[in-house]
Amino acid sequence: MENRIKKVMSAVFEVPVEKINDKSSPDTIESWDSLKHMNLVVALEEEFGVHFNDENIVEIMNYSLIRLILSKKLKS
């Protein structure tokens, strides 16, 4: 799952996969603005076949949180 998240983030933010780590967030990735965040949401939904509700969309604001919320969603 980690690799797939990183691949999606890399494609959306146009940064190399290696640059993405636990701390990746709008503070460390320059291109992560509100428009790109929207792209991230739909790209992750497509990749993992999940649906983020309004709350999730606001929550997934860094790599660790994305991983946490996705793994919760995939378990349930």
């Binding site: 691949k7 890399s10 428009l35 929207m38 792209n39 739909v42 497509e46 990749e47 309004d54």
Partner: protein, 582 residues
């Protein structure tokens, strides 16, 4: 159509970046003006066009700034306008229902004057794609028309009156209908970011407007080339015959082919060149074109006809050459996976369509691809162009392209499985002897009883084969019956035939190699064989010559051959694996 529907958004983003750095041609500037957030369309539209070798560079104008942007971006190659009613004033879709007449008219006048301004500013832009207004995202199944719906109707009427030649109105509702309203909209982002549409919507939208941009780049397709059997009509002319092929609107399957021919005819009326490329006897095809009562495409519509036994790669190259157009201007339709994959592999410039397995989807498939021929500047001149092409056609001796074909065949992983005196397939063998006409050396028809006699007799053997490649298995598709005269160390080939489905793969030579080897091992020194001419088996007239047999007598269409097995020159075709099916 490109495969965009199967691609994930993140994949599109990634491939698009790569395509962008690969294409060297001048960048083609597309500006999108919008009053909602549509940034996701950028990479999707770029991807769709870059795939067609158009170095698209999409810029999104400032959010909700259509009028000012129309000045800023007038020099783009194309300007696209997304003008969403819901955001003309925030929440118009519900506010307008409370408007009185004066308020309704006031906002109508305001938008009208803004449309005027935008169109005036873009007067010199070579192409403007203006999305028609739609109320669909906020419509429901109410019987009474809402103000919002009326507003959209009236603006569209105004827009239609106002547009000039450089402005094309885009029917957004067609895109929404094709994707489905639910799947087109993502209202989560509407309320937070004024974004309305989904990735799926943008993918379909990009495909929908692609023909405009292809045409503006001189990349419209010019010619539609049809295979014949099971593509223009149902059935195989060389096997089923003139009377049995079906394209009559009065029969179930025939009506599908009648519809196909009518679509082709309509395209032809709009200036699309229609041609044929099929493996058939040219005379037979001429007969159908000239005198089959159900044929819609006639001589005057078919600009070029390559019906012969040459491979289709050579024929399609020749078609492009004679019409003096690029290979990338051709669209080719065939029902056979073999031919479709051959052309895709050898001539990737050509757009290849395959007749769907579910035949009822065939007309829909063709209709969906009509956009390939879309021509922005269609005029009466285009009709004249067809005549011009006809005059321009020049013929050159056919260049043989054997090496390329061999290469393709080698990639197919062909496997030939040979069965000897196998009782379980007697019905199929008998059926083949009765139905096969084209690749049939003696055309002797045998019942199941006859075949059983050959199978059980000591002095005869029945060989049949199935062919498979990486795309699938053809089933039992070839047959040879041999009579042995061991006392005189002689064998006679009574029957040698193959289904026309597998012609062109050199299977017949691998089969012959196997048979001669087996005959030799049985102590036979001499093989005799016959070609008996019928009006359908012209193509195998010289088959035995090619197999190093010697012609000893030719009389009234019957050619007698003999072969001393020592003199046999095996073809040893490396790319066909031969197995014993016992």
């Amino acid at each position: 159509m490109s495969n965009i529907k199967n691609l994930k958004y993140s994949e599109i983003l990634k491939i698009n970046t790569k395509l962008g750095s690969d294409i060297n041609s001048n960048s083609y500037n597309i500006s999108i003006l919008s009053n909602i957030t549509i940034n996701q369309i950028k990479e999707i539209l770029e991807y769709v066009l870059r795939n067609e070798n158009i170095n698209a560079n999409v810029r999104i104008g400032d959010y909700d700034n259509i009028v000012q942007d129309s000045i800023k971006y007038e020099n783009s190659n194309i300007v696209i306008i997304f003008w969403e009613l819901c955001n003309i004033i925030g929440g118009l879709q519900y506010k307008i229902e409370l408007f009185d007449n004066d308020q309704f008219n006031a906002i109508f006048e305001k938008i009208k004057s803004e449309i005027d301004l935008v169109l005036k500013n873009l007067n010199k832009t070579s192409l403007v794609l203006f999305n028609k207004f739609t109320s669909m995202p906020f419509s429901s199944l109410n019987l009474r028309k809402s103000n919002f719906e009326k507003f959209a109707d009236q603006l569209n009427k105004y827009l239609e009156d106002k547009t000039k030649a450089n402005v094309k109105l885009i029917d957004l509702e067609k895109v929404i209908a094709s994707v489905g309203v639910e799947k087109s909209l993502d209202l989560r982002f509407y309320y937070s970011s004024k974004a309305l549409y989904t990735i799926e919507f943008f993918k379909t939208y990009a495909e929908y407007i692609k023909p405009f941009i292809m045409s503006a780049n001189g990349k419209s397709k010019k010619a539609l080339i049809f295979d014949c059997d099971n593509t223009l009509w149902m059935g195989i002319l060389g096997e089923d015959g003139f009377r049995k092929i079906k394209m009559s609107p009065r029969t179930k399957n025939g009506s599908i082919f009648s519809e196909i021919q009518s679509i082709a005819l309509a395209l032809n009326k709009q200036g699309v060149l229609i041609g044929l490329c099929s493996k058939n006897n040219p005379k037979d095809i001429d007969e159908v074109i000239n005198s089959h009562p159900d044929m819609k495409l006639r001589k005057e519509h078919i600009i070029i006809n390559k019906s012969n036994w040459t491979d289709k790669v050579t024929n399609l190259r020749q078609i492009a050459k004679e019409l003096n157009i690029g290979l990338d201007s051709l669209v080719f339709i065939d029902d056979s996976s073999f031919e479709v994959n051959l052309i895709k592999e050898q001539l990737p410039e050509i757009t290849v369509l395959q007749v769907p397995e579910r035949l009822h989807e065939y007309p829909k498939m063709l209709r969906e691809n009509i956009g390939l021929f879309y021509n922005l500047s269609f005029t009466k001149e285009d009709k004249k162009k067809i005549k011009m092409y006809k005059q321009q056609i020049y013929r050159e001796s056919a260049e043989k392209r054997f090496s390329a074909i061999e290469e393709y065949l080698a990639s197919l992983e062909l496997k030939l499985t040979i069965f000897e005196d196998d009782e379980s397939i007697i019905p199929r063998i008998s059926q083949m002897s009765q139905k096969t006409n084209q690749f049939n050396l003696t055309t002797k028809r045998y019942t199941e009883g006859d075949i059983r006699n050959f199978v059980t007799a000591d002095d005869s053997k029945v060989f049949s084969f199935s062919v498979s490649d990486k795309f699938g298995d053809s089933g039992i598709t070839g047959l040879c019956i041999i009579n042995f005269d061991k006392k005189n160390q002689t064998a006679n080939i009574d029957t040698f035939l193959m289904s026309c489905r597998i012609i062109g793969r050199n299977i017949e030579y691998a089969f012959m190699d196997y048979l001669i080897n087996l005959i030799t091992n049985n102590g036979i020194k001499r093989v005799t064989a016959k070609y008996i001419k019928t009006h359908k088996n012209e193509q195998v007239k010289d088959f035995y010559d090619k197999c190093s047999f010697l012609l000893i007598k030719s009389d009234n269409g019957i050619r007698d051959y003999e072969l001393f097995v020592d003199e046999y020159k095996p073809k040893k075709i490396k790319y066909i694996e031969v197995n014993n099916g016992k």
